[in-house]
């Protein structure tokens, strides 16, 4: 899809600056991180992370507990300011200081707690904070129609009514609503934190299908997961973190379960392909 160098790259080796227009390929990526670091006092949670996220693809971010995945997404979404390094959005350098900054750029983060109001219905949650009004009065009909058509578009067919309270939905449905809300806000990058962690088999399948649908609509998805089955069934690209470092990154075809496990647990793998990717 992109004409970028597709070889898995060690975070400490090839790091060309991602300034757009210098003939560099980074401008083809939706989001590029260069040398991103984050310290909490003496603790180095992120060390010089380089990562490119292309549009229309699912990038899976994997790693053990404490590898720095959560810090990375919180830095991207503006919760933590980076200690060093640059973030490029469509090739232009950006500075996100608050979650609002990132959501205005088009980055939506769906955290594990989903941030839904159980006492409101689906439509009300979808439009929370951005209600449509007609001369000051909430335009329920417009919001309901739009919600219905979006859920149909995303093939979220399991909810019986968009006027159901979110508190009455299943875990997978709630996840779907949180994702649909991100899409409704014209997000171009959707970051999902362990979306399937608490779900059963069929609901996991539904959510993964939704993830796929997002990518097919041209949205970039950054998916954090512990579950390698999920990763290999839905991801286009894989990025592995180990102890705050991005140890490997590349198309999913270059990984298999055992090499991924090696990378997650030790930060390196003899089985990980070191050769350039087939494309280019």
């Amino acid at each position: 899809m992109t004409s970028s160098p597709e070889s898995p790259r060690s975070a400490t080796s090839g790091d060309g600056p991602a300034t757009g227009g210098s003939g560099d390929s980074a401008s083809n990526f939706l989001l590029s991180l260069r040398g991103l670091a984050k310290n909490f006092g003496p603790v180095q949670a992120l060390k010089h992370v380089n990562l490119d996220i292309p549009a229309g693809q699912v990038t899976a971010l994997i790693g053990d507990n404490g590898a720095g995945k959560s810090v990375l997404i919180k830095t991207i979404s503006g919760i933590y300011p980076p200690s060093a390094g640059n973030i490029y959005w469509k090739g232009r350098e950006i500075h996100v200081h608050t979650p609002r900054d990132s959501s205005e750029l088009g980055i939506a983060t769906v955290y594990q707690d989903l941030a839904l109001c159980d006492n409101l219905d689906i439509v009300q949650n979808m439009y929370l904070g951005r209600e449509e009004t007609r001369s000051g009065v909430l335009d329920e009909i417009k919001m309901e129609l739009a919600t219905k058509s979006l859920l149909t578009d995303l093939a979220v067919s399991t909810v019986k009514s968009v006027r159901q309270l979110v508190g009455s939905l299943s875990g997978g449905q709630r996840q779907a609503i949180a994702v649909a809300r991100a899409v409704m806000r014209d997000s171009q990058l959707v970051i999902m934190d362990e979306p399937t962690a608490a779900l059963g088999v069929s609901q996991t399948a539904q959510v993964l299908e939704l993830v796929r649908t997002l990518a097919d609509r041209g949205i970039a998805v950054l998916l954090i997961s512990h579950n390698l089955n999920d990763v290999f069934s839905v991801a286009d690209r894989v990025a592995v973190m180990h102890l705050g470092t991005l140890v490997s990154e590349g198309p999913v075809a270059q990984y298999d379960t055992s090499s991924a496990v090696d990378l997650i647990t030790t930060g390196g793998s003899l089985r990980a392909p070191a050769s350039p990717a087939p494309a280019n």
């Binding site: 979650p99 609002r100 959501s103 707690d113 989903l114 941030a115 839904l116 109001c117 159980d118 006492n119 409101l120 219905d121 009300q124 929370l128 904070g129 951005r130 209600e131 009004t133 000051g136 009065v137 909430l138 329920e140 009909i141 309901e144 129609l145 219905k148 019986k160 009514s161 968009v162 006027r163 159901q164 309270l165 508190g167 009455s168 299943s170």
Partner: protein, 419 residues
């Protein structure tokens, strides 16, 4: 279970076919989730039946009108609490705050100051709004629990009220209402003809809103409620309106002619209508529910939580101000003996009996009306059958407990059936 846009709640999956089972589903839905009001309405009906059997006076037009007026203070203070209960907050100072609003109204219009009545009324409401807004600022910016802030507030306001009353010279601990309009807030009546016109107009407007809302959903291609339910709603509304007209227009006095709707009723209805409109049709209302449901979600959705919390405190204060004015009108004055602490408890009880949750996110303005009427009915009926104050307190407490039990059981069963 009871949600803001209740006239938009869907009838999911149940097409309006006239089958018997569809009707049963509707009835169950009505009972379970539509408003959550059914159990307490049945309870109220049971109380009415009981007191009617025990006392021949209870169901007389004069007594029912009286009952509405008795309920006014509980209803209005209950609505003031609902603004805060929806966010999981509470205001323990509304009793004395209402007293201060009333005192401002009384003092400004008395023969010494003689301000125009409307300025006095606005000042009274503004004073209460300001006081509540101040509690809001403390709770929001200093992150203090509203329970403690308003507990301190209650004690302070009790002092302020004493000061206000004693500052008016040799008052002997009470100030009389000396202005006609303030007196008439409760004791003034519409003429029978005006009663007819007002109530019919109100019913017509409500019916039109219901029908138009339904019509708009239908024409947008969204599933709406079945037609018969809408018609039933409108019919009940019309019947209730006619019943009220008959009650209010009966002569309530044995010596002279006393009939027509007391002004207090449209004031209650006006506050109810305005509050319901804000809660269900405006962004502010939506955000108040969201804050009560999941404050973190509200914040992440970009809602200025602090601003809307303070706004809700101010709405609560304004409602308290109206309550205070009707209070002094009803008692024809304000005295240092006002039981401000007691009224707060009854206000919270009214809201909870009606079905509003103490933990935020769930409730409606109408709950205070139903709950307030239940409390007033018990007080009124018990007095008619000569039950002592001891019995009155015990029964009121029991009803509150029963309401909470019914509510939590109903919620549990609906939560179980929701999956």
């Amino acid at each position: 279970m009871s949600m803001p846009p209740d006239d938009l709640l869907p009838v999911t999956g149940a097409p309006p076919d006239p089958g018997r089972s569809a009707v049963m589903i509707q009835v169950r839905r009505l009972w379970q989730s539509e408003t959550g009001l059914a159990p307490i309405l049945l309870g109220l009906a049971a109380l009415v039946v009981y007191f009617t059997i025990r006392s021949s006076v209870f169901l007389s037009a004069g007594n029912i009108t009286n009952l509405f007026i008795q309920g006014t203070i509980f209803i209005l203070l209950g609505m003031a609490e609902i603004w805060l209960l929806l966010m999981g907050d509470i205001d323990l100072s509304v009793g004395y705050s209402a007293g201060i609003g009333g005192a401002v109204g009384v003092i400004m219009t008395n023969t010494v100051h003689h301000w125009p009545w409307w300025i006095a009324l606005i000042l009274a409401v503004a004073a209460c709004t300001l006081v509540s807004g101040m509690w809001g600022v403390f709770c929001v910016y200093l992150r203090l629990p509203s329970f403690i802030v308003t507990l301190a507030g209650q004690i302070m306001l009790a002092g302020v009220l004493l000061f206000l009353i004693n500052s008016q010279g040799n008052s002997g601990g009470s100030l009389p209402v000396q202005e006609k309009v303030l007196h008439n807030l409760v004791y003034g009546d519409f003429t029978p003809l005006a009663t007819w016109i007002t109530i019919l107009a109100a019913v017509a407007i409500l019916a039109w809103m219901i029908l138009r809302g339904d019509q708009r959903r239908r024409s947008a291609g969204l599933e709406g409620k079945p037609m018969w339910l809408t018609i039933l709603k409108v019919a009940v509304l019309a019947a209730a309106g006619i019943l009220l007209i008959i009650i209010f227009n009966k002569n309530r006095s044995t010596f002279t002619v006393l009939n027509g709707m007391p002004f207090a009723i449209p004031i209650d209805v006006g506050v109810l209508g305005l509050g319901t409109f804000i809660l269900t049709k405006s962004r502010a209302g939506r955000y108040i529910y969201a804050i009560g449901g999941n404050v973190e979600a509200a914040r992440r959705a970009g809602i200025n939580v602090n601003r809307y919390r303070i706004l809700a405190f101010m709405f609560s204060g304004a409602t308290t101000g109206v309550a205070g004015l009707l209070y002094v009108s009803n008692l024809n004055g304000i005295s240092t003996g006002i039981e401000g602490g007691q009224y707060v408890l009854y206000a919270v009880a009214a809201a909870v009996i009606g079905g509003t949750s103490l933990f935020g996110g769930r409730g409606k303005m109408i709950h205070a009306v139903i709950g307030g009427l239940v409390i007033a009915t018990i007080a009124n009926g018990m007095a008619l059958i000569n039950v002592s104050a001891a019995g009155l307190y015990m029964v009121t407490g029991l009803v509150l407990l029963a309401a909470v039990v019914v509510d939590s059981v109903a919620r549990r069963s609906s939560a179980n059936s929701a999956v």
